[in-house]
Symmetry: C2
Subunit: 113 residues, 2 copies
């Protein structure tokens, strides 16, 4: 699993830095590896299909989600590995060394329990 370049990190950060796209991504994370059809997402988030399509394409370009076809539906799902790479990038490049690692260990334990 190769490290992210800063260009890739910027792409990913920019994708998540938008109200609708963050909501889409969070929904897909919740949905798990089964993913959700575009139509389902549009309905749940109550947004016009063409707008949704624009944001899905953005997230896919950034590598944060993947899609597969199932009959007439296109199923989108979160790429957890990509997200891990992004978080790892932030921890390695944008955190304050040991203090940061300690602080985050606490968070990890909280989430795991």
């Amino acid at each position: 699993m190769a490290d992210l370049s800063s260009t890739q990190a910027i792409e990913a950060l920019g994708s998540l830095a938008q109200e609708h796209r963050l909501a889409i991504f969070r929904l897909l994370v919740q949905a798990g590896s089964g993913g959700l059809a575009a139509g389902d997402i549009a309905e749940r988030l109550a947004m016009p299909k063409s707008s949704l399509s624009f944001h899905l394409a953005h997230l896919e370009r950034a590598g944060l989600i993947v899609r597969r076809r199932d009959g007439r539906s296109l199923i989108y799902s979160a790429d957890y590995a990509a997200m891990n790479r992004l978080v790892a990038y932030l921890m390695e490049n944008c955190c304050g060394g040991a203090g940061c690692v300690d602080a985050l260990s606490g968070s990890l334990e909280r989430i795991a329990s």
Copy 2:
């Protein structure tokens, strides 16, 4: 240390999702708590002062950096706690549960060593 709202997370993500701002932030992380004067940053990153000022204001608004005055200089420094909150937000809301925590534990160990 209160959790980030999704609006705050979007602000922070948007601040880092820009070439110059990411470079500024990384530089400030490296610089440590002593921080750097605006002029130093402008020189090191070779950018016009007014542009730099725009980006510093953006990062400060997002809560990722803080500034203090020292004589004629304004010293900027990274707010590690804010960064930790952002990473924690991503792990809690945008990661795939246990699998994600395991993957990131590995990263933490790698960074710590």
